[in-house]
Assembly symmetry: C2
């Protein structure tokens, strides 16, 4: 149901010819109101793609009438000409829909450093507009895929209102945000302020804690659009919880479809002196290539976990650290614990618990293993 | 010639049976004086192996009479019992050589979280002592290998004095220090202070800038032993330059033999606002898995370089960045530059030049590509 689960939205997804494969590559999501509002969160990478620079400005106004998204090209590191391409894309979308270009968000994903084929993209916008439908959410989700093997959607229902969304992302998955395009929609009747608060909190706890390969994209974009079509204004807490649930669902789907991965690793850091400490330790573990290889080999190599923890500034004493892999405490008080042969690592999900014994805060970071397939997928051709 | 190139040193390397393979696994280096002095630099990982904790104390005294090194086990995360094993190793070495245990440095490398087989190691010390020779440097260098495919030695001759050394390291290679054991020797007549100054400056510019896989060891140890046997006290500058040259040579050999690597990547960051900025950017590029995969695939994917630079706090403007790969400026002013098809990446060494256009400082970081062989070597068995 994706972005059209909520009332007040239409969407479409078509093949404009941007991708040489002929696969769908252009998605359009339109907010039909009656009371449109929006919030957005973007990559923290200082090298930002043209559509990110554009959409940051659009979202600042608190109103997004439509989002036009393309796969097949990131339009990043393309200079002033690339920014002009994004501008032209927004102008064309505005013209076709009868809106102001200043309310059209643009998102792109694909190879960095290549101009978009505007001779294909612009006519594609006419086609996408012609196919807009209140049931088009699925097709839109399919059209934003790059190396994703499946399209990702999620929906949470409130009391008379709905939050739904779609996401793409399979590589360059790391905090700040994970590399992805995400569009969330709701028919709740909310202003930009409450939308922004709910979205920031949700991304901080979900997409920002997905660290598949430590690489941060130039194009990350997460948009939340409200139509007001339900006529209901939910309480902030219940609404924020729904947004968080949709984001968590989509984030889990991203990890589950990460490039070349054979394992999804849930890293739970517990008894930290602060949440920041827990996140720092979780990310250090998540990014340790040697550990990621060991997990791939179903080897409960806890020494690599301790080695990763040791590189952080978090509060802990080395001889108080405890580590469990899939529930077996293989490291106790910084030394050998339970028999590592007791660890069963046959399943796709692997849980690493790092007990810092330094406080009562915690965090969960999701990561993937490192595989020959990941190397192949990212070395055999440009992406 | 290794650690016995300098006068006043003997060494040996033997198979004590610590490694199941039966390969050499125990090395002994003895300073025969007449004026022994020493300095050391150790891992900055907060989870430190027992031999690191021990040797840090020994080096603090400014005198190291001998170094006993084993491969086949890191003796890290082994608790108080593991520390006792290191202590016993130093005691036994001291007893055999007729020295004080407080002057015996110990270094270990291998799997984390496993106790050493002391019933094999201790008798091995007798055997190693019996085979000490002024020509034993080569054998010592061989005995400290783990996944190294070749042993690494280097020698620089001064005016009547010599600096020589041996190194091991192939995985867990990352700053602070790179993962390695290194023993350097000189017959120059110098006190601990000048030795320490020369060693710190040399490691900062060489081993600390080797970042094969972003993983930091629990066992890194670099020792510099002076015998005074040449009777010559060289000027600090010329001596420091010799130490730096030996370290640079060994560091280059470590990168050239890194686990599973098919490319050695020299990352030159130029025109940075500060040396710290240059190092931060170089490390970010060095650790980008997507870029490392691209280099493996001989794909001059400069977008991944910009994406890595963008995650740093270094001073730069995105639209002023220039990137060359093997001398071809594929990215100019943050956008598409020269034709990427001009880049020839057939050779093992690949040079990435990142021009931050923000100042006049620079740094060089060495890294490796990411390959299926690296994944295999680090997932197929515990190491």
């Amino acid at each position: 149901m994706s972005v059209t689960a909520a009332k007040g939205f239409t969407a479409s997804g078509i093949a404009a010819g941007i991708k040489e494969s002929g696969n769908p590559d252009l998605a359009l999501v339109v907010n039909t109101g009656p009371r449109p509002a929006a919030a957005g969160v973007f990559t923290s990478n200082r090298v930002k793609a043209a559509p990110v620079l554009w959409s940051e400005q659009v979202v600042r106004g608190g109103r997004v009438s439509a989002v036009i998204l393309n796969s097949g090209g990131a339009n990043a590191c393309t200079g002033p000409a690339g920014f002009q391409d994004t501008h032209a894309t927004a102008e064309k979308t505005a013209e076709v829909l009868g809106h102001n270009a200043g309310e059209i968000a643009v998102a792109s994903t694909g190879l960095i450093g290549v101009r978009l084929p505007m001779d294909k993209l612009l006519p594609g916008i006419d086609q996408a507009a012609a196919q807009l439908s209140a049931h088009g959410g699925e097709k839109a989700a399919i059209a934003i895929k790059t190396t994703d093997t499946v399209h990702k959607t999620a929906v949470v229902e409130g009391d008379g209102w709905v939050v739904g969304g779609m996401a793409k992302g399979a590589g360059m998955l790391a905090p700040g945000l994970a590399t992805m395009l995400v569009v969330l929609t709701t028919d709740a009747d909310l202003e930009a302020g409450p939308l922004d608060a709910a979205l920031r909190e949700a991304t901080r706890l979900t997409f920002d804690r997905v660290d598949s390969d430590g690489c941060m994209s130039t194009n990350d974009t997460v948009l939340l659009l409200a139509s007001g079509a339900s006529g209901i204004t939910p309480g902030q807490e219940v609404f924020a919880e729904a947004v968080r649930a949709v984001c968590a669902d989509l984030a889990r789907q991203l990890i589950g479809d990460a490039e070349g991965a054979s394992k999804d690793i849930r890293i739970e850091v517990v008894n930290a002196a602060s949440e920041d400490d827990a996140v720092e330790v979780g990310r250090s573990i998540a990014r340790n290539n040697l550990l990621k290889c060991a997990i791939h080999g179903e080897d409960p190599n806890w020494g690599r976990v301790l080695s990763a923890i040791g590189t952080t500034k978090a509060a802990f004493e080395p001889d108080e650290l405890n580590v469990a892999i899939n529930g077996v405490w293989v490291c106790k008080k910084g030394s050998v614990g339970e028999d590592r042969d007791l660890v069963d690592m046959r399943y796709r999900e692997v849980v690493i618990t790092a007990d810092l014994a330094a406080g009562s805060d915690s965090a969960v970071i999701w990561a993937n293993d490192l595989t020959a397939d990941y190397v192949h997928e990212n070395s055999a051709y440009s992406s």
